[in-house]
């Protein structure tokens, strides 16, 4: 067989395989890890886009795109995990290391409240001395002062870190945090949930099993959380699919994940930049974004990542499976530290959503629509009150 015939025979069988898997996806069936890999390897981007768009439309028949008015608040950048891909953290006592004064935190929260914000995404470093007590006090204080703003705080590795500092089980720490006012858990720190990869890029950070277990425990306590993936570094496509599989399995078990978001690692200026490959190109992101919508059949929402991918790409992702624009991120420090500046004012963000043919709607942390401009579109499943009641049923009323 000549090289040319061999190639066209191979591409012929690949095409047949893509067709078979595509039929499965269109029929609403779950695909296997092997099938996800085949799609990633052989499906062209338009096919991935059409399949992802089909899944999105089945889950969200209305042409709506949600987002939340929120801000990032990083109470500290002090961290002892030394992740080489992070340009944000400082070691204890290093130049530029900080712990925000409570007054500064109040001021930032007030700015958010003035803009009608509904959520603060509060996470930071793994500070060696800021224990659960410190966080509980902060959460309780903010809950009392800004009851309308959900405290979406502490990634799984941070919760795990608190448990280690306290020498107590994760569950006990979570109960206290929830009682103090923690409203939901962000999905950060997942990176790639494959031990081989974590040992290379984040050896001091929480393991795959523990990351998943923190989310499992949080879900059991009635908290909802989001899930993420940071790729485009040392992982393989198989690793990404394993990551997605772990998330899908846990979601089968608990149903507690609200949404999934993924983004490419931003390598500029990170401590170990010389050890990482250069920034991956946007097409690499778009393929994975589309594949995640197809694969995570038990996730309601897929978030685009306009902060890392830019507004133009984010607009396109709406046709590649994404139904949510994430947060307005009135302040973002972490990826900005890694040379990534795609923050957009709300009007501009709504503009690109509208121009793509969708209605932008403001949501809460639980993906309920709470847009004051569209009372007729108001919908659950949760609002602040329901969420608080549900948590209270599990862990008792907030102190």
């Amino acid at each position: 067989m000549s090289e040319k015939t061999a190639r066209s025979a191979a591409s012929g069988s690949a095409r047949a395989e893509v067709r078979r898997i595509a039929d499965k996806v269109r029929a609403g069936e779950r695909i296997t890890p092997g099938e996800a890999l085949a799609l990633h390897r052989h499906a062209d981007i338009l096919t991935l886009g059409m399949l992802a768009d089909g899944v999105r439309r089945a889950k969200h028949p209305d042409a709506h795109v949600t987002y939340i008015v929120d801000r990032n608040l990083n109470p500290t950048n002090v961290c002892i995990t030394d992740c080489g891909f992070c340009a944000f953290y400082r070691r204890p006592k290093a130049d530029g290391a900080y712990v925000l004064e409570r007054g500064v935190i109040h001021q930032k929260m007030q700015e958010l409240a003035d803009l009608g914000g509904r959520q603060v995404l509060m996470q930071g470093g793994h500070h060696p001395y800021l224990k659960t007590d410190w966080w509980c006090e902060l959460l309780a204080d903010l809950r009392a002062r800004f009851p309308q703003i959900n405290l979406h705080a502490l990634s799984a590795p941070e919760v795990d870190h608190l448990a280690k500092l306290d020498k107590r089980p994760v569950e006990a720490v979570l109960r206290e945090l929830v009682a103090a006012g923690l409203g939901s858990l962000p999905g950060a720190g997942a990176e790639i949930l494959v031990e081989r990869v974590r040992e290379i890029i984040a050896p001091k950070k929480t393991s795959t099993e523990r990351w998943l277990d923190v989310h499992r425990k949080a879900h059991e306590l009635g908290l909802r959380s989001s899930a993420t993936m940071m790729f485009g570094h040392v992982e393989t496509v198989e690793d990404c699919i394993e990551h997605l599989t772990r998330l899908r399995d846990l979601q089968d078990e608990t149903g507690g994940f609200t949404a999934f978001a993924c983004w490419l690692m931003q390598p500029d200026g990170v401590p170990e930049q010389h050890l990482y490959p250069s920034r991956k190109t946007p097409a690499v992101y778009l393929r994975m974004q589309a594949l995640s919508r197809i694969y995570l059949d038990n996730f309601d929402n897929i978030q685009t990542s306009y902060v890392t991918a830019g507004l133009k790409m984010a607009q396109v992702t709406l046709q590649y499976g994404c139904n949510d624009f994430g947060g307005t991120m009135l302040e973002e420090n972490v990826v900005s530290a890694a040379g990534c500046f795609h923050l957009a004012p709300i009007q501009k963000l709504e503009g690109v959503i509208e121009r793509a043919g969708y209605l932008p709607l403001q949501r809460n942390s639980w993906y309920g629509v709470v847009d004051p401009r569209h009372p007729e579109l108001q919908r659950g499943p949760y609002d602040m009150q329901q969420a608080a009641t549900r948590r209270a049923a599990v862990v008792g009323a907030p102190r």
Binding site: I45, A283, K312, Q315, R355
Partner: protein, 390 residues
């Protein structure tokens, strides 16, 4: 290298039929020319994926997986201009801050500065200023060619050529001969804007009309020079005006065959008098690429010009009908004065990576689409003309 399996013809027909574009898909499969109504339907279809799949089918039929780039540099020799187009942020009048006119030596120095790079083309376009003497243009070409004799000079839009002929006080045919003798290799596609007289009256009435642009392009092609063609989209033009524009380009191409590449140009509003017009978004740009591929059945190449689309959209455009992403550029002023946030220069290796990640096979070309370097020397051998299936 990974390439991906796209729609087969039966799938395409089924897909398009399911989204109200079945008749158009039939024409595409039968290689029939699409009519004005088909163009309008494609512009108005809410199913961009399907429009993209139709365009991608045509693109792959012509070029397979190949995607072209070149190693080029831009020289915008002056921003002096009396056309006062409302969509332009580059133009200056003499004495205004930032106004400049490069001497032929200064332009040549920019070319000389890149001698260590494998540049094959210099793209020279600029404003139109009647006090620049004819001799300047000839000197400019000679100086650039002297700085790098192997370089291909693609210079002077139809608008500039109109002015050059005026100041030369000679027929354009003669001027073209003289410019060619001085080093002109081919002509870029800019300045066409949108041919509609309504749009011209409102935004660029001091510039040559659509008919004049086409008449000059005809003379350029008859002189044996190749050119590109463009359309500036995303300002005040209607879809009818866009389809008409494409149709007029197509009709001239039937006559001369001189257009190599069609490049949709996205209007960038910043710093222009039309800053209140929002400009096209990513999905509009992808659709424009697809429409170009589907309507211009007689133009071999469609370019996704990354400088103004930005990398993500240029990459994706390679699956919506485009087969070219332009080149390394080095220094660009016209779109950067209008707020473009893209870098001004990319490395050749980056261009190759963009194309590979888009699932395409990178081929470096020269201005006239001869293969300079190829990731697939079997399909696109170095030294030969780029393979375009008829």
């Amino acid at each position: 290298m990974t390439t991906y399996a796209a729609c087969a013809s039966d799938e395409l027909l089924e897909l398009a039929s399911g989204h109200g574009l079945g008749r158009i898909a039939e024409k595409v499969l039968a290689r029939e020319r699409l009519g004005i109504d088909d163009g309008l339907a494609l512009y108005r279809s809410p199913h961009l994926h399907v429009v993209g799949a139709l365009a991608n089918f045509v693109r792959e039929r012509l070029h397979g997986d190949l995607a072209y780039f070149n190693v080029n540099q831009h020289v915008n020799y002056t921003n002096l201009c009396n056309k006062l187009c409302r969509f332009c942020a580059f133009q200056r009048l003499p004495g205004q801050p930032g106004a400049y006119l490069l001497s032929p030596d200064e332009a040549a120095a920019k070319v000389r500065a890149q001698l260590s790079e494998p540049v094959t083309e210099v793209h020279m376009v600029a404003g139109v200023w009647p006090k620049i003497p004819y001799e300047y243009y000839l000197e400019l070409l000679r100086a650039v060619k002297a700085a790098r004799p192997s370089i291909h000079v693609k210079a002077f839009t139809m608008v500039e050529l109109d002015q050059i002929a005026k100041v030369a006080k000679k027929p354009l045919e003669v001027v073209l001969e003289e410019l060619e003798a001085a080093g002109l290799g081919s002509v870029p596609g800019g300045g066409a804007e949108v041919f509609s007289e309504r749009v011209r009256a409102e935004t660029y009435h001091l510039k040559i009309s659509g008919d004049e642009w086409l008449a000059i392009a005809r003379k350029v092609h008859r002189a044996g020079l190749r050119s590109n063609c463009t359309m500036l989209h995303g300002h005040i033009e209607t879809v009818e005006e866009r389809v008409d524009h494409l149709d007029r380009l197509r009709r001239l191409q039937d006559e001369t065959g001189g257009f190599q590449t069609y490049i949709p140009l996205s209007f960038h509003p910043e710093n222009s008098e039309m800053a209140d017009v929002p400009g096209p978004t990513a999905v509009d740009e992808l659709r424009e690429i697809a429409l170009g591929r589907l309507m211009l059945d007689n133009v071999p190449h469609i370019k996704a010009y990354w400088i103004l689309m930005d990398v993500p959209i240029a990459q994706l455009a390679l699956s919506y009908g485009a087969d070219d992403v332009d080149g390394t550029v080095v220094e660009e002023h016209i779109y950067h004065d209008a707020g473009a946030t893209t870098p001004q220069h990319v490395q050749r290796a980056e261009l190759i990576q963009w194309i590979l990640d888009a699932g395409r096979v990178p081929v470096e070309r020269d201005t006239l689409y001869n293969v300079v370097w190829s990731a697939d020397p079997l399909r696109a051998p170095v030294g030969r003309a780029a393979p375009v299936a008829s």
